[in-house]
Amino acid sequence: MNLQDTRLRIKIVGQSGSGLLTVGEIVSKALQRLGFFLCADREYPSLIKGGHSCYTINLSESPVRSLSDTADILVAIDKHSLVAYFDTLKKEGIFIHGYERTAGIQDILQQAEKKKIQTVFAPSRKIAFDNGGTEQMANIILTGMLWKVLGFPLKKVEDLVREKFKNKKKILDIALRCLGAGYDAVDSQLTIDVPVKKKKTLLLDGNQAVALGAIQAGMRVYSAYPMSPSSSILSYMAEMASRTGIIVKQAEDEITAAQVSLGAMTAGTRSMTATSGGGYDLMTETVSLAGMIESPFVVLIGQRPGPATGLPTWTAQADLNLALYSSHGEFPRIVMSIADPGDGFESIQHAFNLAEEYQVPVIVLSEKVVCESKMTVDSERFKKIPIRRGLVPPEKLSQLKSEDRFKITPSGISSRWIPGSSETYYFANGDEHWEKGTITEEADEVEKMYQKRMRKEETIREKLPPPEIIGKEKQADISFVGWGSSLTVLKDIIEDYRKKGISVNLLHFRCLSPLNKKFVQEFFSRNSNIHLLEGNYQGQLGQLLEREGFSFRGKLLKYNGRPFFLEDVDSYIRDHISQHG
């Protein structure tokens, strides 16, 4: 079996706390080391034990960026999850389980037979006990079984188990025995060619990538309050602090996290914070202050469905309006989206540069599916973006006047220097102010300063890179407009459809605000069958574009907490190509 042009889709399901994540991580890493490209995501409920979870891995010899909702292989750790996910296993697929009391799953086994599914079974509890383990070892036994079914040599996965338990000698011995016993208990079902030419990839999730990008960009203070799905950035920063020297502060709330970050930025270092929509609600007054005192500020929103607590561990793209319109008063801001780990690594570096050069808040929209999905990324994508701070050069620090800090300029951008770096000081005033920062309520001065700040929006609009077109530039059979993670699905879809002779293209917004209207106009004039693709109910980017006079033939909107799967876009295209044609 050759995975050059096709993907193999594995789903591992089990209760939260059953060790599912361990299986998923071990198998993903082992597959990466064999040279495969893969994308893996974990669906799980917002609790620590119980409830069913699913770890999905899609792998191929060519880059895989998105996920399918269907499985070729289903690995079930327990009955509940098995029942919940069985329908996602395709006809003639492979079903791996260790459930001994088969009387309880007769329905499933009959369905399996009907769907010509190959069932692979070994008594995982018994094997665990026989090898000195507890029921908890079922996950390792199933890892062995899965690895054998895939037909790969045991050693490759053994190495990962060793790494995983390297500090727990006693458990390691049991785990290795269980892994081997699981491997030996079943027969290989597949013979998969291992990639000959191995490309150097990194396997990481979006949060890790953002953290690494921020470290790369010279961020020195990270302050945050835990909130899914952004929390792992905080953990990751803290774990690396001994080697990076970054000051990591878990704040008492999101208001504090944002204020600490703004205080650090205003005082002259690079800092960021991350949260989800609900936490960002609390940060909005700070964003407004950053807008007024023209201080750089960088915040990441890991989106999940709302309102209120919503679905804490699921994904959404529903906080675009929040990012665009939050905070009192009017001030320029930059809103960016990130689509995948490689994008996150690069974009966060740009976010720091933009925030400092234009002295504005930058809001980076991520999504649960970006935050937590692991993806193999070509190591060449981890590029260093030169740091641009937009500060007054050292030789000019002695020639400053206090009025330079908020000087009325044509571009709206005035000189910024670090407090204490010059004998010339200034007032960073949250009250309306004149050029030095002294409070003013004079109508004329208020207008001039207001206009100066707002002029930055035009300056930024001209400098920001335009939206990106994926696929052919014009006259596509069907076109999509989207932002964030939909890029990854569309990249895979565009390639699939090219092979079928159907042209699909995408206008992807990495920078959502300020909007580059001219570029959008060109795209709309060159394509006719244009559809909106967004992970929210209202079609928030769509509404924004409609207000600018653009219109869509249709809208593919999803708001049930799941990301866009290949199947979603695939069936939408089939419906809308025929209509169009």
């Binding site: 008492e252 600490v260 205080g263 650090a264 002259g268 407090p419 004998e423 007032f427 949250g430 030095k436």
Partner: protein, 300 residues
């Protein structure tokens, strides 16, 4: 007040004048903010801190309208949020920059009271000057959490129904490292206390009993002067004894002034960071491209 020390000011009029602003002061006649800002300028001069080595962070309130009436680097932030703002600044600035924060009793004891608790707990390296005039003066005299029970106020015409929070009791319950109380009617005392706060390594909490001639008719300067007692005049007062401090702020006979509590052994925030050397702390200069190869190769 050490009069000899104070007399040094006479020879430092240039240094003092460097802090003087041309801006028109906008406080009411007799407002405590005049003397507080004067005492602050004196303390800064006596500590030999020039304006460009300060970073003064202001909350919202009458005191905050002084954010552009003293020369130096200032940030005028949001209501109730000055403590975390100053915390971020204090972990960032070069060691020779003095971070200070100023807020009233509205912002500190209501809107941002959670920040006060965690700032004390984190022992960030900056001095905090709590302007306690027992009301929301800038919004025309509503009661605050420190207004005395029974006082008729704007929005409480029949008198405040609830007991005030005892600010010092609260702060002392959090194992602070520096707690002092002073009075806006006594510039010399303030100068002395402010200097000690500026020298403290860690979070220095300075409670200033501030006169508000417009909205606080109960606790006037004259009233305070009749009721205060300096702790140094008390026999055997030990400012390193937390229970002595807690007792003295609990009793209702006399209002204690001076350094009420001091714990110099407590590490400030920067000294608790295991991975950094506070002696060479320059986050402003550390914004340079980092080598992340080791982290990337762990992901291969």
């Amino acid at each position: 007040m050490d009069k000899k020390r104070l007399s040094e000011l006479v020879h430092q009029s240039d240094a003092y004048n460097a802090y003087e602003s041309d801006e028109v002061l906008t406080w009411c006649g007799g407002c405590g903010n005049y003397s507080i800002q004067n005492a602050l300028k004196r303390a800064l001069v006596l500590q030999k801190i020039p304006p460009h080595k300060t970073l003064m962070c202001f909350d919202i309130g009458c005191h905050g309208n002084g954010s552009d009436k003293i020369e130096g680097y200032t940030i005028h932030g949001l209501h109730g949020r000055v403590l975390p703002l100053a915390a971020g600044a204090s972990m960032t600035v070069d060691p020779d920059i003095k971070v200070m924060a100023f807020a009233g009793d509205g912002g500190t004891m209501s809107e941002g009271i959670n920040h006060l608790i965690h700032t004390v707990r984190s022992n960030y390296p900056f001095a905090f000057f709590h302007h306690d005039n027992q009301n929301y003066a800038l919004t025309t005299g509503q009661p605050s959490a420190t207004t005395k029970k029974g006082c008729p106020m704007n929005a409480a015409p029949q008198g405040v129904m609830t007991d005030p929070i005892n600010t010092l009791q609260l702060v002392l319950s959090l194992e602070p490292s520096f707690v002092a109380q002073t009075l806006s009617a006594d510039i010399d005392h303030m100068t002395d206390v402010f200097q000690k706060a500026l020298c403290h390594q860690g979070f220095a909490f300075v409670n200033i009993l501030q006169g508000c001639p417009t909205y606080n008719r109960e606790a006037t300067n004259e009233w305070y002067l009749r009721h205060v007692q300096r702790v140094e005049e008390q026999k055997d007062y030990d400012p390193t004894d937390i229970w002595a401090a807690r007792r003295i702020v609990a009793q209702k006979e006399k209002i204690p002034l001076g350094i009420l509590f001091l714990d110099t052994a407590q590490k400030d925030f920067l000294h608790t960071l295991p991975d950094r050397d506070p002696a060479s702390h320059f986050p402003t200069r550390e914004v340079i491209p980092r080598d992340i190869t080791e982290f990337l190769s762990a992901l291969e």
